[in-house]
Structure formats: structure tokens, C-alpha cells
Amino acid sequence: MKPPAFAYHAPRTTDEALATLGELGDDAKVLAGGQSLVPLLNMRLAAPAALVDLAHLDGLDAIEVSDDRVRVEARVTHERLRRHPAATDAVPLLREALDWVAHPVIRNRGTALGSIVHADPAAELPAVLSLLGGQVELATSGGTRTAAADDYLLGPLESDTRPGELATALVLPRPGVRTGAAFDELSRRHGDYALAGVAVTVTLDADLAVATARAAFIGVGATPVRVDLTDSLSGQAHDALAPADAVGLARDVIEPTDDIHATADYRRHLAGVLLERALTTAAGRAAAGGTA
């Protein structure tokens, strides 16, 4: 469990990082928190010719909260974001999702954006990005672009980060009024990747009945599986949800598989249980005061 030799680059500025990445192209991997990449290197499951380490970069560490969005730059760790009240007040789902991410020692090093770039289908933050319709900002030495979640998350451990590109920030829109969210999951051990999990948002109308409802599931597909539940739930009173149709719909849409930890049937069942619980929580929060 020692990595094969690689060239190590530690740029000091974003421009230098982009220039280095541009020169190296396909040969380079970006190292941020290293919580997924370093084990892959040690097990020789990944063998990039070069690493470009963001640890010594001057910048790319901002958390920006504005009227309509939260923007989190590449070097922000899970834990720093989790403990950023303005950001988590603006997007409460973020806080709840981050509570589920691994353990403190991993959250202290792993980066929020790194988790999205890594695109593990059982990870929490890609689901948040997907559910809220967030975006990823990417840069090359030649310019920048913005990718929507659906375009960016391509498959298991596959995101649309192109050779020479650096993912620089993730952007999450703030939820509207009378919108509540919830995240629930079940993992075998505290902090493990979930057997299945779900993030939901519920928006109520002026009468506190469901206007829209959406869910994004983790661990039951190649990417976060987003399901629009509005047709199944609209018009239902926030405190008397009858989620059976929504649960049925979701169980039809998701594509869980068997592995050594759980069967596909169990995951399908579990996803439905978690959805029902999360919908109830989210609807209650929406009624209780907007964005909580």
C-alpha cells in the first residue's frame, strides 16, 4: 500500500495551479483533502503521473453567502462549511447533509467540492447539489465555465472535470419561501457511506399544502437519483401527508444493486422508509417557518 512514483506540484496561486494543470493535462490529478484520492493511490487503484496539491494555494478558500446563493470554494473543508452559520442558515440542508459525512478527522481534511468532484454515488454532497439544482464552477488557464449538477455528475466516481481543468467552487441556490428540507440515511456504521439515503425538499403553498416536492437518493444508482414527487403529493396538507404514492414512485425509479452489505430489495425498501420519514420532517419544517 505504497503509491507508485508521481511528480508532486504545490502551486502557490490559482493561476499557477491552472498553468500547471494546463501543462500536465491528462497526467495530473488534483489533490485537495486527499480523503479519497490518497487511499486510491496507496492501493494503486489510481496511478496519476502527477499530483497538483492545493494545500499551499493562496486562495480558493472562501465561503460566500449572498441573497440568492451560497458559494463554496475548492479548499473549504466539510467541517469548516459545517460550522459556518451563515452558509448553513442559508441552505439548512447543507448542515444536515454534512452531519452525515464520515467522521470529524475526515471532515477536517476532506473538502466539500472534492466530494462532488469525486462523485461517489453514495456521498451526501452530490445529492445536495443535484436536489437543489446547484452548479460547479470550473476554470482553466484559458477561462471559466459553469456546469449544472446534472451535466456534471456523470456516473459512479465520474464527474465532468476535463483535462487541465480545476473545479473551483460549488454554488447552491437558497431555497424559496415555505420550503423545508431534510436528509436521512442509514449506514452500517456511524459515518460510513450510506446503504441508502435521501435528501428532500418540500415547498408548501399559502394554505400549507404541498406545492412541490423533490427527492434525491444516494446509494441506489450510478449518480444521485432525483425524483420529482410533486404529482404524488401536491395538495396534501403538510401535517397529513399520505406518501404511499410518492414512496411507490421513488421505489420504481431508483436502481439499487446487491452488494455484500445489503440486497437491492432491502435498499429499495429502505429508500422508501427514509423518504417517508424525510418528507414528513421536511413538510413540518416548511410549515414551521420557511427554510428551516
Binding site: 503509491p3 507508485p4 494503486r44
Partner: protein, 793 residues
């Protein structure tokens, strides 16, 4: 001393050093050593057609590569079968490097030596081994089908068949008012210590001596094996087990291939060589345990008394059987637990499979045996509609029946004879600790909220402190320090503290003055090893006996010096003093100085021992007949048979009715290991054992696919419980001293793990109403079982 050190919960003296990161583990040594990487089989079963070194030799920093063909004659022999047994008629062990065939994923095929581990892995990756894959035998039942042999010359895959019987079990079952038969399974797991295996060898060409550091539970036996394989005198080899980051049984296995190869290569190359196993290797190349399938038939009366028990089981020992039949023999005997069984028959087949070999892991066959017996008692209780504690009580051996000889042979070849215990007393303590009688109300209250609570319990008896012997050496230095050594090694048990307590108690010295060295053949060359919950029993008593000899010698010397009868003297506060008149005394370090007649006054203190200052008879030899210089002694403890500790666990669980997730609530342990040397250490052992028991109940399994590939060879997928999954444990002690040894000690090392799976299975069954007959169990599996149960009712 006014208060006894024995039984005092003193803090572990080793902890400050270990917690500050000042431990000295094998990989902390030998920074300039060459490092090795082992090319391991990716196949469960294959013939080796060819090994092509390819461009491995081009790797910068490569020193050498070895395959079977490069080995000298002696190293081409299979590794030893450590514990032979008359019933083990088809024993096979592995070679240090595969000889044309591999029988499990992870088996060593070639050894790469390089300047560092990075280069060694680079080269290992480039070596091309051409395999001709063969069908793999995976799982004990597949092995018994015998449609494919693991070893060509053992067509039925059976290494041994053993039967033991007391009374006439089948007749008793046939005559019983009630009969049940069922199957019980336990899956494969492993010790998985924090520190993986490691060996570091220094060959001193000038002295023609080998120093070997190994992360082992048996340094004296490693030394003997290495000397034999390398053709060296024992006097040329020293083996040291430095700090060891856990063993839990896997490190009692020896010699590992690397333990032979590394010192051999060090001598060949004239350079230090080190092997540090990585975690991925450990999962496939360090041994496993636990997997057994049991078929049970039981006959019982209306009170639930077991009249006859017949257990047939299959033990999956993997690709080789280096440790003999110890694990299944322990299951066979220890299954009985605290119950009076007069008609009992047990048979097992120990079978080969193309998986990592099996040798003891903490508990060593007992968790399986406990699972079988305790699940059986629960079945009986359910069948009769009786309380589970009542059925247990109806079957207990009573205190006045002990010692009790069952008429079976235990793992040490000695009588299976319980020496002491109070099982009814333990049960009543346990019921109080967990509030057993109040549970029905707790369960009903939870049910009213739609919650599922369950309670379970399990009892065990653990044969500990098996022989043949251990020794202890105690030396009081002229500076007052007390040097204690014993040959067995420490893997974190707190031996330094416990053994110091035993020596300090006998010598009346400060605990801080006692320095304990374990597992260093330079200090104590005779030992058996650290396993079977035996260190405190065996070395503890040996050190006690050696310290007693030192005490007697100190009294003799002081008696002469003070001109006081030895019977009127006592050892306390670092002095030998007159009882009732403590001002008349002589410091123990002065006694130590006087014990060694000197010619040279190398320091001020030594003057009193020189030839013109020593009083004494000028016509008698300065060292009297029968005496030796120095205030020191060696002694050994060698029991006739094992001592039997016991205990009971009870646990409450809550099962999520929708997800079938199991959460552990209360966990209570009543534990009897005889006289407690240090309750804090015993409780630490219990807590750690419970954690591993929880692992075996809910999380840990070696998930092999049908091709013999281990699918979860990492801590990401092999689910060792975190602190977050381990419950708070309430402990109560019962002390029924063993009559077999001077200190009355029984072992405590393994106990905590034994009843975990049985108790948790019982609690899940109680919560859900679903029969639990296989462990571990995951939420996914429990969900499926609940669905099955619902669809059949």
C-alpha cells in the same frame, strides 16, 4: 505495606508512553533496513506455470527477488504443523513460498527485497506469474461435497474427524419428553489487530548472531523455529517482541513465512531486512477464524433440563491447518458452558477450503460453542414457554458440585474439569444489573410507542491458563530497582502493570521501582506464549513464586545482618524491617548489594560487600553452598490442568420496525476470573471483548465469493465497529478464586468476546419474534428474515 497492591485498580504504567506515541513497534525499528514486499496469489486455487521477473529487475532500488526455486533445501520444507493430534490424519501446511500451487488468495509466491517498500512494491507489481486456475472450494459445506479437492491427495477435504461423548447422548435424546433439532451458523471473521504483522532481522556477521524483532505472541518459539530453519544454534538467535499493537490470537500463529524468509535474507545479504505487512495483505495472508456450521439435537424434560445433547459440526480451517485442531476442540468442550451435561456427544469434521487458513482469534472456538449452547437453551425455553433465566438455572452446575470433571479432554490434552465458580450467584447478579425482571414493563411501554425492544442473555465458561508452563525472573538491583522478566510477550494487556503489582506486593517495594520486561529471549528464554487467557495465570503465578524466593533470600541475608530471626522480619517500604519495630531495618537495596560478595568497590555503596568489610566466617566460602550471588530468583508455574473462568452477559436491543436496524441499549456483564489482580485492567479486557463481540454479532464477516475472492479486504468494507457502535457496559465482578494456583487467578483476556453473538441474537429474537440461527446479522438480512416470517404466518 498497609494496603494490598493485589486487587488495586492502579493505572496502567505503560499507557503514558503508548498514548504519547512513544511506543516502539517493529516498524519503528530498522530505518535503514531493506524492506520486502511479497508477491501474493490473486487466485484461490491455481497451479503456478511460470514466474517471469519481467522488468522487475530494472526497478531502481531493487536488491533481490526470491521464488521457491531460489530457496535452500531446508526452507523448501513445509512450515511446521504446530500442534499435532492423533485425529489429525491429513494435515497440510504451507511453504514459505508457494511450491507450484497456491491454495488461497494471498498465499506468498515470491519475495522482493528493495531499498524501501515503495521500490519493493514497484518491483512486485512487475513480476508476471502465469497461473493455471483451478476451481475453488469455498465454505464448509462445499468442502464436504468433495467434488473438488483443495489438496490433490485429500479427496474428501477432511483433515480430521473427532468425536467425544459422555454418557449416551442419542439414547437420552430418544427417551426425552421433548426433542428439538436445528442448525446454527457462525461466519468467518478475524482478529484484525491495529498493528499488522511485522518482522525485522539484524544479522551480525562479526558475532555470527541473529537478532530478530517480531510482532508475535510467541517469541521463544519463533526463535526456536528460526534457529532450526536457518541451521543456527539457539545461542546465536535472540528474538524480541517489542511493543505490539494488538494480537487477539492471530500473532500466536508462527512461524509465518516472512518470519523465516526475512532473517534468512538478512543473513544472505549481510544487511538488515524488515517486513511490515500492509492492511490489504493482512486481510488475506494473516489467519482468520470462526466459520462453523452446527447441527444440534437436544432432548429435555418439562423443566427444560437438558437430558441429552448431540452436536455435529463442520469447522472450516481454510487452506492449511498449521495450528491443528485447537479451535474445534475448544468448541467441542467449551460449548457445555455452566451446565451439568451428563449425556453429550460432539463430533466435528475439520475441512479444507481455498480460503485463508484459520487459527485462533480471541475466544478461539468459544463464541461458536456459546452460540450453540445458549441458542439451544433459548429454544428450549421458547418451546416450553418458560423464562430463559429459569431454564438456565435448572441446568446449572451448583457451586457445591465443583470441582467437576466432565470426562472430556480439553485443548491441552488434559481433563476438562471446572475448578470453581458460582453460576447461580452470577445469574442473580446479572439479573439485577440489567433489571431482567423489569424488562417486560419496558418492552410493553416501548411497544405502545411502536418500538421493538428485546433482551437476551448468554453464559459461558472459559478454560484459561493452559500449560505447559511459564517462568518468571525477579532481581533486586543494588540501586533498589526490581527487574522482573517473563518470556511471554505483551500485546497491550497491561502486563507491565499487573506483573509489577504481583512482584511489588511480595517484595514490599514501590510499584514505580519495578520494571517488567516481557517477550525478550535475552532476558527470559523459556516460555510458551501469550494466548488462551493465560498470561496472568501462568506468568503472574511464576513471577509471584520467583518473588517469593527473592523475599526468602532477602530475609535470610537481613536476618544475618540484623541478627534477628527471619520469622520476625517483614518486607515493606523498600526495607527489610523488624515486625513491630520498624526503625530496626535494612534497605532492600543494601541487602541486594550484600548478596553479591565483591572484591572491587566500584562505587560507595559497593564497599559494604567487599572482602575486608564483609563480616562472616573466614573458614566458610563467601557464597554459601546452595546459594548464588545476587538477590534474584527464577521460578516456574506449571498447572495440572486449566483453570475455568466464567461469566454472563445480558443485552437489550431496539430494532427499528421499518429498517430492521439494530441499536444496542443496556449491556451488562457479570464476570468471574477468580482473584482480581487489577480490576481496571480486567474491565478494559471486558470492554474490548464486548466491542469484538458486537463486531461478531452485527458487523464483521469475511465475505468470500464463490471463487474464493475476499470481497471486503479493507476496513471500508470489513465493518469493525467504531466507538459509536459499541455500547456502554456495566460490569459486576464475582471472585471465586481458583484452587489451582497460589494467587487464585483465572484468565480474563478473551472472556468479553465469547457471549456477544449469542446474547445479541437472543435479544434480536426477543424483539422481533424471528428465530435467529446465524450470526452475524445485518439489517438487510434481518429485514429479509422478518419478511419470510411474516409471509409464513
Amino acid at each position: 505495606m498497609t494496603t494490598s497492591l493485589l486487587g488495586a485498580p492502579v493505572a496502567r504504567s505503560e499507557d503514558p508512553r503508548l498514548l504519547r506515541g512513544e511506543g516502539r513497534f517493529v516498524d519503528d525499528l530498522g530505518h535503514d533496513a531493506f524492506e520486502v514486499a511479497v508477491v501474493r496469489s490473486p487466485h484461490a486455487h491455481a497451479r503456478i506455470v511460470d514466474i517471469d521477473l519481467g522488468d522487475a529487475l530494472e526497478v531502481d532500488g531493487l536488491i533481490s527477488v526470491y521464488t521457491f526455486d531460489d530457496l535452500p533445501e531446508r526452507l523448501r520444507e513445509p512450515l511446521p504443523l504446530l500442534i499435532p493430534h492423533p485425529s489429525l490424519t491429513a494435515g497440510r501446511t504451507q511453504h514459505v513460498l508457494a511450491d507450484g500451487e497456491v491454495n488461497h488468495v494471498g498465499e506468498a509466491v515470491a519475495l522482493v527485497v528493495a531499498e524501501d517498500r515503495y521500490a519493493a512494491e514497484d518491483a512486485a507489481e512487475r513480476i508476471m506469474v502465469d497461473y493455471d486456475p483451478l476451481p475453488a472450494v469455498v465454505g464448509p459445506e462445499r468442502a464436504l461435497q468433495a467434488d473438488q479437492a483443495v489438496h490433490d491427495d485429500i479427496a474428501d477435504n477432511v483433515a480430521a474427524h473427532l468425536e467425544q461423548e459422555i454418557g449416551d447422548a442419542r439414547a437420552a435424546i430418544a427417551d426425552a419428553a421433548h426433542r428439538l433439532s436445528f442448525r446454527l451458523d457462525i461466519e468467518r471473521s478475524a482478529s484484525t489487530p491495529m498493528e499488522t504483522r511485522g518482522t525485522y532481522a539484524r544479522w551480525d556477521a562479526d558475532d555470527q548472531r541473529l537478532r530478530l524483532y517480531s510482532s508475535t505472541q510467541a517469541p521463544t518459539s519463533v526463535r526456536a523455529a528460526v534457529a532450526a530453519y536457518l541451521g543456527l544454534d539457539l545461542a546465536q538467535v535472540e528474538c524480541i517482541a517489542p511493543d505490539i499493537g494488538g494480537g487477539f490470537g492471530v500473532k500466536i500463529m508462527h512461524p509465518w513465512p516472512e518470519e523465516i524468509l526475512v532473517p534468512w535474507v538478512a543473513r544472505e545479504l549481510g544487511h538488515d531486512v524488515k517486513f511490515t505487512e500492509d492492511r490489504r495483505e493482512h486481510f488475506v495472508s494473516a489467519n482468520h477464524e470462526r466459520a462453523q456450521v452446527h447441527q444440534v439435537e437436544v432432548g429435555f424434560d418439562d423443566e427444560g433440563r437438558v437430558l441429552g445433547l448431540d452436536v455435529e459440526f463442520v469447522h472450516d480451517h481454510g487452506a492449511y491447518i498449521p495450528y491443528g485442531l485447537i479451535v474445534p476442540i475448544i468448541t467441542s468442550t467449551q460449548l457445555i458452558g455452566p451446565y451439568k451435561l451428563e449425556n453429550y456427544r460432539v463430533t466435528f469434521d475439520s475441512v479444507y477450503t481455498n480460503t485463508t487458513p484459520v487459527t485462533p482469534y480471541r475466544g478461539a472456538g468459544r463464541p461458536q460453542g456459546c452460540f450453540v449452547m445458549e441458542r439451544t437453551i433459548d429454544r428450549i425455553a421458547a418451546h416450553l414457554g418458560r423464562d430463559r433465566t429459569e431454564v438456565r438455572a435448572a441446568n446449572f452446575l451448583q457451586p457445591e458440585e465443583l470441582p467437576y470433571d466432565f470426562g472430556l479432554v480439553f485443548q491441552d490434552g488434559r481433563a476438562y474439569r471446572y475448578d470453581s465458580g458460582d453460576f447461580p450467584g452470577s445469574l442473580s447478579k446479572l439479573k439485577e444489573l440489567i433489571d431482567w425482571d423489569g424488562f417486560a414493563a419496558r418492552k410493553a411501554a416501548a411497544a405502545a410507542e411502536g418500538r421493538l425492544l428485546g433482551i437476551g442473555l448468554a453464559a459461558y465458561v472459559e478454560g484459561t491458563g493452559v500449560g505447559p508452563y511459564e517462568g518468571g525472573h525477579v532481581l533486586v538491583e543494588p540501586n533498589g530497582s526490581v527487574q522482573v522478566s517473563t518470556g511471554l510477550s505483551s500485546q497491550g494487556q497491561g502486563h507491565q502493570t499487573a506483573f509489577a503489582q504481583i512482584a511489588a506486593e511480595e517484595l514490599g517495594v514501590d510499584l514505580a521501582d519495578v520494571k517488567v520486561v516481557t517477550g525478550d529471549t535475552r532476558r527470559f528464554p523459556y516460555a510458551v506464549g501469550t494466548f488462551a487467557s493465560r498470561a496472568a495465570v501462568m506468568s503472574g503465578n511464576a513471577i509471584h513464586l520467583a518473588a517469593r524466593k527473592v523475599r526468602e533470600k532477602a530475609l535470610r541475608i537481613a536476618s544475618e545482618a540484623l541478627e534477628v530471626d527471619a520469622e520476625d522480619l517483614e518486607l515493606a517500604d523498600g526495607k527489610v524491617r523488624v515486625k513491630g519495630s520498624p526503625d530496626t531495618s535494612i534497605d532492600l537495596n543494601v541487602v541486594a548489594t550484600m548478596s553479591n560478595p565483591l572484591r572491587y568497590a566500584f562505587d560507595e555503596a559497593a564497599r559494604i560487600a567487599t572482602q575486608f568489610t564483609q563480616p562472616g566466617d573466614p573458614n566458610a566460602p563467601p557464597v554459601a553452598e546452595g546459594e548464588a550471588p545476587g538477590l534474584e530468583a527464577t521460578d516456574y508455574y506449571s498447572p495440572i490442568h486449566s483453570t475455568f473462568a466464567n461469566g454472563m452477559h445480558a443485552v437489550e436491543v431496539e430494532v427499528d420496525p421499518d429498517t430492521s436496524d439494530v441499536r444496542i441499549g443496556r449491556y451488562a456483564v457479570v464476570h468471574d476470573c477468580g482473584t482480581l489482580v487489577n480490576p481496571r485492567i480486567v474491565e478494559g479486557q471486558i470492554f474490548g471483548g464486548v466491542a469484538q463481540g458486537v463486531g461478531g454479532a452485527l458487523y464483521e464477516r469475511m465475505a468470500y465469493d464463490e471463487h474464493g475472492q475476499l470481497q471486503n479486504a479493507s476496513f471500508m468494507d470489513f465493518l469493525m465497529p467504531y466507538a459509536t457502535e459499541v455500547p456502554r457496559v456495566d460490569v459486576d465482578h464475582l471472585e471465586t478464586p481458583s484452587p489451582l494456583n497460589p494467587l487464585g487467578i483465572k484468565g480474563a483476556g478473551e472472556a468479553g468476546v465469547i457471549p456477544g453473538a449469542a446474547a445479541i441474537a437472543a435479544a434480536i429474537e426477543d424483539a422481533t419474534g424471528v428465530v435467529i440461527d446465524a450470526m452475524p446479522i445485518s439489517p438487510s438480512q434481518l429485514h429479509a428474515r422478518r419478511l419470510d416470517a411474516a409471509s409464513t404466518t
